[in-house]
């Protein structure tokens, strides 16, 4: 049994946005806050990540560039993505 890192309220809201945007068959609360979002973690592929970037832009006003060298870190986990969003959000 693996342990799941619990989510903060902001992380739960972001997880809900991601699950709804991608029609994932997982409850938002089940997203491990510390696990990678792509590949072996939540299993997102490159187009999923672009969809997530788009919904974040619409919801929080944070522009995530497709060619940002920092993307691997930003999308490293729900936690790192949420921290990035909260730091840069304009709405």
């Amino acid at each position: 049994m693996t342990t799941t890192t619990l989510q903060t309220a902001e992380e739960t809201r972001l997880a809900t946005l991601i699950v709804e945007a991608l029609n994932l068959e997982i409850a938002p609360a089940e997203v491990d806050a510390a696990a990678p979002l792509y590949r072996d973690g939540l299993g997102l592929d490159s187009i999923d990540i672009l969809e997530v970037a788009l919904v974040i832009s619409k919801t929080y006003g944070v522009q995530l560039k497709a060619d940002d060298a920092d993307n691997v870190r930003i999308f490293g986990s729900l936690r790192s993505l949420s921290e990035h969003v909260q730091k840069h959000r304009t709405k």
Binding site: L22, D45, I47, L50, A66, N71
Partner: protein, 265 residues
């Protein structure tokens, strides 16, 4: 009813899509899925809705796909296409035509200085559906289109109504290309990819080949290289379908290997 079916992809699907860079059109993936399901059930199926579909990998000539389906409680069918176990497409389909009120055709201001379709779309006959620009707004475009009778989607003079999605996708590609065209010289045709559909409602089972359609798209959200467009396709005053499409336009034209579509992780 849950099942698994094998789908062979015929070479005829790749003509004109695209020259020198054969890619199975996204609508052809959908058409092949609906055909396989109809064959399995021994009855014609009227696709009435696409709650969502995500197209994940390019499909090349000669490839074999496997379709897995799973019936859901809310009258929908989950579908997943794989190639050697890797996901190619997944989504949810609803059968039975949509019967809610059809929206009226959107009207966009007529565009006097319309960009040349042939110069901006990489699609060639028989997969070039868009024939001209009818109107434009700051964030939308309306085009005339038709499904050519020699297009592989057509049988007996009719194409499944989902073929109209391709007309909308090409209109979206043209909107994007026209924007680059206005921004400066050197903007040529660039292959884009249909990567997703959401909340699509269909009001007809078929559209007649070689018959004038109007495809209208309006930009809903842009996060380069991804764009979401609201789409509607009408035949005269009659709405064929509406919904949202997601398209990916790579910033340059790399060899379209599946993993080079973006630098996102």
């Amino acid at each position: 009813m849950n099942s698994t079916l094998d789908i062979a992809v015929a070479d005829t699907w790749f003509e004109g899509h695209f020259p020198g860079n054969p890619i199975l059109p996204g609508v052809a993936q959908l058409a092949l899925v609906v055909e396989a399901l109809a064959r399995e059930r021994g009855t014609a199926l009227a696709l009435g809705g696409i709650p969502f579909v995500r197209l994940r990998q390019l499909v090349r000539p000669g490839e074999r796909l496997r379709l897995a389906t799973e019936a859901r409680a809310n009258d929908t069918l989950r579908v997943a296409l794989t190639r050697d176990g890797a996901p190619v497409m997944n989504g949810e389909l609803r059968f039975g035509l949509h019967t809610a009120d059809r929206p009226a055709a959107p009207a966009l201001p007529v565009l006097a200085d319309a960009p040349p379709v042939e110069a901006l779309l990489p699609h060639q006959p028989p997969m070039r559906f868009v024939t001209g620009v009818l109107g434009a707004s700051a964030d939308g475009l309306a085009c005339s289109a038709r499904v050519p009778s020699n297009c592989p989607l057509v049988a007996g003079g009719l194409a499944p109504a989902l073929a109209a999605i391709e007309a909308a996708a090409q209109t979206g590609a043209l909107w994007e290309a026209a924007r680059r065209w206005r921004d400066g010289p050197g903007a040529g045709p660039r292959a884009g990819y249909l990567v997703g559909l959401r909340d699509v409602s269909l009001f007809a089972t078929h559209v007649p080949a070689d018959t004038a359609l109007t495809a209208t798209v309006t930009l809903e959200a842009l996060g380069p290289p991804l764009a979401h467009y609201a789409m509607q396709v009408d035949l005269g005053e009659r709405c064929i379908l509406h919904g949202t499409l997601a398209a990916l336009i790579p910033p340059t034209c790399p060899p379209p290997m599946t993993d080079s579509r973006s630098t996102m992780p």
